[in-house]
């Protein structure tokens, strides 16, 4: 573990991603604490450009964009994180059981997974979002998470299938371990780095999915998120009026976040994978 | 019969990222005579595959040539220009069938395409048809069905793949063929067929000598003329096959032979002995004679001081052990 971390921090690409992500995180978490302003309060003129008082200007209702960006990033991160945890948990559970048990159970579980994969998740997301009455950030994270797991399930199933052939699994079985103990104790440790990377991908995907939904107007109620900011700009024609400060910053923030997560993931892939192959 | 190749004081080490040196080939002396089969035997990790790489001039980082010479035609080939080495020596004078070669065939290409590539690399002016014709001729001459050329690797059995790879490596009639564990993954019957092919190649003068690397001593009993025993990067015994197998001199060879299990009458009464300890770490090999920590004949004060030279103790039979002399050097 230690040597892997050392290798990671030697990789330039990882460092870049890590620092970028850390900046976004600090901005989103520490920012709101230091910033006394309220993102929903009307404090200035409508669509006024960036100035010394309002670093990123104001939106269509005269609210401070910079503050919105802070709170928005925080919400987006929260939704992405929730979606990541849920998608990864469901994906790992289904994938590992399918891969380990094999036979009929594998067929059924993978059948369900494949159905979910073929239906465009965005369609499911839209339908679910419309159907749900309350849309808080956590609920959104949940909704996104339960549509994003199939990819992880397939990948985990494949890994589990190949790990199953290792002799230590046979030894554990003839030592009387049950299925649950086998999966948790003998199989998952081998996939830890893989699962972690899957989580990062789901995290990043969750953020993007939230942005998509919110832009379509299906975002969380009474909260600001990066997607909601974009939705407002679309709705209130920020582009046409030339109020670039209302939509460029959230776009940059979104890009930076997903880029930094993907960078870190790519570096982790390089370092973790040879071990997976060898182990 | 002269020497086709002589290696003197050959040293080749691996350098790790952390800067350590793995002394895989350390002061090796060897000669390959015309018309012979030289077996190199040793356990895994003794350096024999590295030796194969060095002798076939495939020395790529992290492996580095650290010292010594390999004489071919009274010229040290390491002093030759890279271009001459690549054009005239590799594949032409010396050809190698590396370990696991049969599994490295491109699964998406028919065998004949592989063959054409190899021939054209050395004879660029030759046409595809001519190259194929030659290949077919050679396959037939060695009793291999020419249909193999049109097949994909996965359509061939293990034994067939190994024979194919062997025939392809000898298409240019190299003087020396080095084969690294060519039969380890094969069942006994396929193994025998592959060995027969090697003997046939020699009989027909397609190649002039064979260096056969293996960990299985009984195999060498059947077709090697001389055997070199390798331990921890050094050659510890080198002599005629009958001597090394039936009256080994070096304590390590003796122990190796006594742990051999063959299905012949009398085997059941034998009690096989383990060699105590573990093969040494080549990063930090034992001082003096590398075998001394595990040697039943260890002489304190002598064996750990210096490494014994390879001394001739009988015609063509050399041993590197203080039991047979050389103590005055220590």
């Amino acid at each position: 573990m230690k040597d892997m971390l050392i290798l990671l921090f030697r990789s330039k690409r990882f460092i870049v991603g890590f620092i970028l992500f850390l900046s976004v995180l600090l901005f989103a978490l520490i920012g709101p604490i230091l910033n006394p302003r309220n993102p929903f309060q009307m404090v200035g003129g409508l669509f006024s450009p960036p100035s010394n008082e309002f670093l990123l200007g104001t939106d269509n209702l005269g609210r401070d964009v910079f503050t919105q960006l802070m709170y928005g990033t925080r919400t987006s991160l929260l939704i992405g994180f929730t979606a990541g945890i849920i998608a990864t948990t469901i994906g790992v559970s289904i994938g590992s059981v399918a891969g380990y048990k094999g036979g009929v159970i594998e067929e059924v579980l993978m059948g369900i997974t494949n159905v979910f994969i073929t239906i465009p998740s965005i369609v499911i997301l839209i339908l679910l979002s419309i159907a749900i009455k309350t849309r808080s950030a956590l609920v959104m994270g949940l909704v996104i998470g339960i549509t994003a797991w199939p990819w992880t399930a397939r990948a985990v199933r494949a890994q589990t299938s190949s790990l199953k052939t290792r002799e230590h699994i046979d030894i554990a079985r003839i030592s009387g371990f049950n299925t649950f103990e086998m999966i948790i104790g003998e199989i998952l440790p081998y996939m830890f780095s893989y699962i972690f990377m899957a989580f990062i991908l789901q995290f990043s995907g969750g953020i993007l999915n939230e942005a998509t939904l919110s832009m379509l107007g299906l975002g969380p109620f009474q909260t600001v998120s990066l997607g909601v900011m974009l939705h407002w700009s679309l709705l209130w024609e920020a582009v046409r009026t030339g109020a670039w400060w209302a939509f460029i910053p959230p776009v940059i923030c979104l890009s930076m976040t997903t880029f930094s997560l993907m960078s870190m993931n790519a570096s982790m892939d390089e370092i973790f994978n040879p071990r997976l192959r060898r182990g | 019969m002269g020497n086709l190749l002589t290696a003197n004081h050959l040293r080749a080490y691996y350098k790790t990222v952390q800067g350590e040196e793995i002394k895989a080939v350390d002061d090796v002396f060897l000669e390959v005579k015309e018309g012979e089969v030289l077996g190199i035997a040793g356990e895994s990790g003794c350096g024999k595959s590295t030796l194969a790489s060095v002798l076939s001039f495939t020395i790529l980082p992290p492996l580095y040539l650290v010292g010594g010479e390999v004489m071919v035609d009274s010229k040290n080939i390491f002093t030759l220009e890279k271009e001459i080495l690549r054009r005239d020596i590799k594949g032409k004078y010396i050809s190698v069938v590396p370990q696991g070669a049969m599994n490295s065939l491109n699964p998406t290409a028919r065998i004949k395409n592989f063959v054409i590539d190899i021939i054209k690399e050395h004879f660029p002016e030759m046409t595809k048809e001519e190259a194929l014709r030659r290949a077919r001729e050679r396959f037939e001459a060695l009793s291999l069905p020419p249909r193999i050329l049109d097949a994909y690797p996965h359509q061939l059995s293990g034994g067939m793949k190994q024979r194919t790879v062997t025939v392809i490596s000898t298409l240019l009639n190299p003087n020396i063929l080095i084969a690294d564990e060519p039969t380890s993954a094969l069942d006994v019957s396929s193994q025998k067929i592959v060995i027969k092919l090697f003997v046939e190649l020699l009989k027909r003068n397609i190649i002039k000598s064979i260096v056969f690397i293996t960990h299985e001593l009984p195999l060498l009993r059947h077709f090697a003329d001389r055997i070199a025993i390798m331990y921890a990067g050094k050659i510890v015994e080198l002599g005629p096959m009958e001597e090394v197998i039936f009256s080994p001199r070096h304590p390590y060879t003796k122990l190796l032979m006594s742990s051999v299990l063959v299905p012949e009458p009398g085997m059941k009464e034998k009690k096989i002995e383990a060699i105590p300890g573990v093969p040494p770490d080549l990063k930090n090999p034992p001082s003096g004679c590398r075998f001394h920590p595990r040697c039943p004949s260890y002489i304190e004060g002598i064996c750990e001081r210096t490494s014994p030279e390879l001394i001739e103790i009988a015609p063509s039979h050399r041993v590197s052990c203080f039991l047979y002399g050389g103590k005055d050097v220590a």
């Binding site: 003839i174 | 990790g45 009984p218 197998i245 122990l255 012949e264 059941k268 009690k271």
Partner: protein, 267 residues
């Protein structure tokens, strides 16, 4: 010590088919044999002969397509409940070929030894468990303090196989299935592992069944040989008899292709 006549395990008309329809493969084709108490035997065959599949079925890692496995008079072929499985594995155990992948590399080797107490009756104190583990390690020639807290990659192949043997000593099954136990160990360490395996019969009356392709090893270790080819047992009997006067053409060819020392091939 020679085997007595008590039959511990009986395999009757075992069949295993993988896949279905045109691509079905009959890996095990009507295999029958028995293992007596204190007997050492080898299931000998090349790769693809079905010997490993047979072993896995006996170990209940794989269900057969047809046939029966009878242990101490009880038909355990399709037994699947936890209690009976644990009872069975307390008596029938295995040691595998690859000393590296036999371990879970994330834990120290202590864990694989501790895990056997899953199988053994649970009213043993922690101290007694530790004592039994230490004793077993010493009996296989390892110093407990040297190895217990190490991770598998810090030990040599030979040492790892010894730990697997120590695991067997803690369990004390009546039958041990040894699947190519020395093929991935270097030659120097091989004899030590083999001698330990043979001592299992001498010291504990354990029956040992070797699964191997190495005829020399099979002959050296075993009272009885079962020659397998293409899923079937083509010849079986006393080891000495088979080696000296093989009857089946496959056995004859096998013996003539094996490199021995006392005569040379005609090449």
């Amino acid at each position: 010590m020679s085997p007595n006549d008590e039959v511990l395990l009986e395999v009757k008309n075992l069949v295993k088919i993988f896949g279905s329809g045109k691509s079905a493969i009959k890996a095990v084709d009507d295999v029958s044999f028995s293992i007596k108490r204190g007997e050492i035997l080898s299931l000998l065959g090349e790769s693809g002969s079905g010997k490993t599949t047979t072993a896995r079925i006996i170990l209940k890692l794989l269900p057969p397509t047809e046939g029966k496995i009878i242990f101490k008079g009880k038909d355990i072929t399709y037994v699947n409940d936890r209690k009976n499985l644990l009872d069975y594995w307390r008596e029938v155990q295995a040691i595998f070929q690859d000393p590296f992948s036999s371990f879970n590399n994330f834990y120290s080797v202590k864990r694989v030894l501790n895990n056997v107490f899953h199988l053994i009756k649970n009213n043993i104190s922690k101290d007694e468990k530790e004592e039994r583990i230490r004793e077993s390690l010493i009996n296989v020639g390892l110093n407990p303090d040297d190895v217990l807290n190490k991770r598998p990659h810090e030990l040599s192949g030979g040492q790892r196989q010894r730990i697997m043997l120590a695991r067997i000593l803690v369990i004390r099954p009546s039958i041990l299935i040894a699947d190519e136990p020395t093929s991935m160990i270097d030659a120097s360490s091989r004899a030590g592992i083999l001698n330990l395996l043979l001592d299992l019969r001498k010291d504990y009356g354990m029956s040992v069944m070797f699964i191997t392709h190495d005829i020399g090893l099979a002959y050296y270790t075993s009272d009885k040989l079962l020659i397998m080819n293409n899923g079937q047992i083509v010849e079986s009997g006393d080891a000495e008899t088979i080696i000296n006067s093989p009857k089946h053409p496959y056995t004859i060819r096998l013996l003539s292709d094996v490199p021995v020392l006392n005569r040379k091939w005609e090449l």
